[in-house]
Symmetry: C3
Subunit: 481 residues, 3 copies
């Protein structure tokens, strides 16, 4: 391949279509919303960054080793995770160094293979970050890898690159992190009383105490009992313990939402007796995979009921086949780029929950999918009817220019715009947040521009919608006003 | 949102693409077919309208309360069906009045929320109807709601708004209604001998006597026996009774087609003994859901055989999960915007029927889907091979500008144009019929325009195809010549 | 329809978009790669053509009767396979003549119905072949059918139309045929030592000895034993026999790849004891359909292991429901246009194979699909992670301008370009090969042009990618260097 040096330029009209009629409208729309603050209501940044406000590490540790989008591509082309310095099970800290993998060597490998990212969102986010955050004017390639590496490391130690300073520079009004049910939220508590109290909040993710297929489930439920003083061997005690943790997350982490990463969207509505029996089996470790699934399904319904009580918005993220690569999982653990989407069914799966709570105006559920076939077939029709349902944005593998465009094209005609909730970046890659939100804004403006250019909506409507898709809907949906 | 007053304008090039090269071709194509008469071979208008030729009611009763596309969107945003005046189980007539819901109040709520329909086909159809049928020059909004309401009501009582006059004004050459198997077709009979005899025909929809999961199945079959003098406890007698009703629909309602709204596309080819056993169980009420499904599947095959005998074209509309919202169904009944599409399989499901009758040139089946994934994977390959199969147009949730475009893009390359059957409006919203057909014509011309602009077909071919997609194919497919 | 004579012109910018900004870039890209040699690594041409180098037969025998894309469309519109001269079970040779179907009459029927192919890839390939190979200047229609027929037949007997001469004229650097496991490769052997030795190679397709649902399975395995001297009643002997045939294909046919046309992508990893039991049942004819499926699944895993040993690239082509039309199959046999795609699942299906071998850098599997929903949901995520997986191009029904564009749009953002393998024509229609590759090159250049025009990649990147997609990736993926 031709890996020769190139200028790194970010065209002002990028992603706004190649059709001049659309670009003209889209640019005007984009100009009207591009400076709105970023609301990031769902993501995986580390709250300690904001609490401690320390500088980040070197370029490889910041941009390659924690980003499974990046190293999965390198792995797919034959680079081993070892040579990329990915930490193995149980390892912590600066693994690259501890295993004699030179961070700059990792960076060189990355640079030599940077052409692999052409046309991918990762490539786009990285280019944006290099240009807009670090100010590079040449595209990363084998020849300038070392120069890049030194320059990034030079900047990373500066005051400008402290997390709170970046929050300001990036114009992030609010960011929500995600913590497990047993987390005591020390970092969020540390922010209480600071200027960032209302800008960094948590979300309640109870997967570790509701997914009985996890090896640590029994231990987690025991910890849950300790933290809450409830008898978690009793079904009602177990539910009360979860209730108490939700309140803890509201009080100590300003949570407004919960998050649920189940394998499927199954919900159940079992009798209390059946629930107690299931809980018993799950705690004894004698439950079958089908019973684990029933238990998770029942919990989704219970959690919806709790949302009606305490007002937390419920996010459901189903459909990932986690840790598909057994060899990688055994050696390196979770979140190593080996989660694969799978077919996901919503219409029958959600029926028990919706039959019980779906018409309650106090319930607000945001649905996500990794199966794009459900946009027009299941999700838009469901969200276009049930008052309790809204659609989350294009997610994970589909959080990309073409993926976002398909989302709007396949969702809008049935659900409208007002049953959607704006953008989520869902990322732990803090430096990429402005680029990710910018992509969403550009693609939304392109989509609106196409509707205007096809005379389907007016420019006045489009401007209102651009504002809502960028800022209005997310604040309302996540109760951030 | 910015809900300020706006001009209501229908751009002549609307929906024809924003690409000047495509618009130029598409406009020329559209001009060549825009004045062709409307053929509406499948829909749900009320035949009494044409038989009685009475004026319609007030604006809310005409445009909101019967249109589940409209009120499902309002419901999804938190408006109760009660406050929208939707009739509950068993209620009839002017419900709004009887329950002290002021029709003008409903209209006001609708107008205040009209912005929700931006980018949806409902919004487009309504704008078209307001501009082209009622002559409004300002877009509906909160401020002009009352003015709109009064003006619509003023026009509705005029001679111009009598159904037969609208048939002429709308240039509707033919409209087919849909009646259940037990209907005696009084309205169609009343039209016999009038100028509208050949313009208003029925279709035979036997779901009420073949779907044994319905509560009224046993009663319906008893009525079927009375109407036909057949012993419907006997399998052959039951089939003969259905045969007689088909002939009745041909003779008294000029039917050329049947319609079948099954949950799935399953077909079966069971022995006579198995059929008799199933019928016995269904009539006794002891059949299981699986047996109900088998029975429906067997009936599809039987009905295909009858189509070979009597020449009626068979329409299969599978894939809707009906009445998904139990609470809404319990209180308000069917057709309240809570039908949700679900995954639909055709390749295995249709095999028994096709193995028996699929190569018979006298059989003509038109397949529909709510699952767009089947367009390129199953339906186009099936219709591109079997002489008995044709594809119906984009249906229901997919009867929209982007939905129709996806249909052509995903169907044409494998099935060609000549295995499709033109447009169906499938509506009970009579005033929207011109707008719906106009959308289909525009989207087809856009699609053809893209093929011409990409040099895939010639302009001569495109003009022929525009005519066929608008007028030629539907008349041939539904045997309307 | 308007079937009047038209000029046959192939616009230089065809398929390159209608958007001037895209066309400009796409044309420049296309000009840079249009003269690259054709690599055809997967197809179904007859090796005897190249070994014997004899002229082809008449126009109908060359262009209609062997092309199920063509006659399935005519069949779908009511023409019987008999009147199109399609050979029935057991028939050989010039069937049209033997059953008194005049080949010119078949050609006339085809010409009269040529309008049916408007907008289909078959129509496009045929127009390209007529214009670019035969030099016609008028489009085929009823009026010029006879003239076309005579002119094609006149040209077919010329020196220019001998297969090897066409290989040169078409600029085909290499073509791979596909032979069953029991084939002795006489034609490939005959080419050894000629200039075409390296230009015509085979691929190993063992379906006939691993698919125990075939009626001839037992006989095939007996022949396998004879050819290899192995005891194929013994599991290890059976596997060794397959190993030997693979080596035979490498040595006598220069094979670099294998091909597997299973109904599903299921793989298994059973114990040796279970495998022996399955083999016993399959050979006795007592295996159930589920056991046939398990056996095929186990063989895919075994064959992957053999690929690691001998380096053959593995192609998996799942998802066709073969011979869907029972009546056509009974009378006419396989490959008569009645294979229909069906839903295909990869994530769970491939897991046993991938758990065993998926991280081995010596394994290379190319995955294909007939289910486009798997592009973004399953295949791109899998290929974007596993080093052993690459994605084959849009296949069969989806090998079309819109189909190829959907492939790139839905695959690239997650898998990148470098986990794809260039184009396959997969055809037995030799004369259409240049047109098919030209379509792929044009659509790829259009897609790249859109990325450039949207400022997502640079022109320099696009030129590199155009070369890779046309020539570089296919040679690397199929080990043809």
């Amino acid at each position: 391949m031709n890996n020769a040096p190139q200028k790194l330029t970010m065209n002002p009209a990028r992603l706004l279509s190649s059709d001049p009629a659309v670009v003209k409208v889209a640019l005007e729309l984009y100009d009207s919303i591009k400076d709105l603050p970023i609301i990031s209501p769902h993501g995986h940044t580390d709250p300690s960054w904001f609490a401690e406000n320390s500088n980040f590490e070197n370029a490889a540790d910041l941009l390659i080793r924690p980003d499974h989008y990046v190293f999965r591509m390198l792995y797919s082309q034959g680079y081993s995770l070892e040579e990329l310095g990915i930490p193995q099970h149980g390892e912590k800290g600066d693994l690259a160094a501890s295993r004699n993998v030179d961070p700059e060597g990792i960076w060189q490998t990355f640079a030599e293979n940077y052409y692999l990212f052409a046309g991918t969102p990762s490539g786009y986010w990285l280019d944006s970050t290099f240009a807009n955050v670090f100010g590079f004017e040449d595209k990363l390639c084998a020849d300038n890898a070392s120069e890049y590496y030194q320059e990034i490391n030079r900047q990373l130690v500066s005051e400008r690159f402290k997390p709170r300073a970046l929050m300001d520079e990036f114009n992030i009004e609010l960011i929500a992190t995600t913590e497990g049910a047993l987390d005591q939220l020390p970092h969020h508590q540390k922010l209480t009383g600071t200027d960032f109290e209302k800008r960094v909040i948590t979300s309640f993710r109870p997967d570790d105490v509701v997914d009985a297929s996890r090896e640590d489930f029994k231990q987690n439920v025991a910890t849950l009992a300790e933290l809450t003083g409830e008898n978690t061997n009793d079904w009602q005690g177990y539910l009360n313990a979860i209730r108490k943790r939700r309140l803890y997350f509201v009080e100590h982490g300003r949570a407004t939402a919960t998050d649920h990463g189940h394998p499927t969207a199954l919900t159940e509505n079992l009798s209390v007796g059946e629930c107690q029996t299931l809980l018993d089996k799950c705690l004894k470790g004698s439950a079958s995979p089908v019973e684990h699934e029933l238990f998770r399904g029942q919990l989704l319904t219970e959690l919806a009921g709790m949302s009606i009580e305490d007002g937390l918005v419920m996010q459901i993220h189903p459909g990932a086949h986690r840790n598909h690569n057994q060899g990688v999982f055994d050696k390196f653990g979770r979140d190593k780029g080996a989660d694969i989407p799978s077919q996901t069914e919503y219409v029958n799966a959600l029926k028990p929950l919706l039959a019980k709570f779906g018409n309650d105006p106090k319930l607000s559920i945001i649905l996500f999918t990794l199966d794009e076939t459900t946009y027009s077939r299941e999700l838009a029709p469901l969200a276009g009817h049930y008052p309790s349902l809204k659609l989350g944005p294009a997610w994970w593998f589909h959080d990309s220019p073409a993926g976002m465009l398909r989302y709007r094209q396949q969702v809008t005609e049935t659900a409208g715009f007002y049953n959607t909730v704006g953008f989520n970046d869902d990322t732990r890659a803090f430096l990429s947040i402005p680029a990710r939100h910018d992509v969403a804004r550009r693609v939304d403006c392109r989509y609106l521009g196409e509707l205007v250019a096809n005379h389907q909506i007016t420019m006045q409507d489009a401007k209102t919608l651009a504002y809502e898709l960028t800022y209005g809907l997310v604040k309302k949906a996540y109760k951030l006003d």
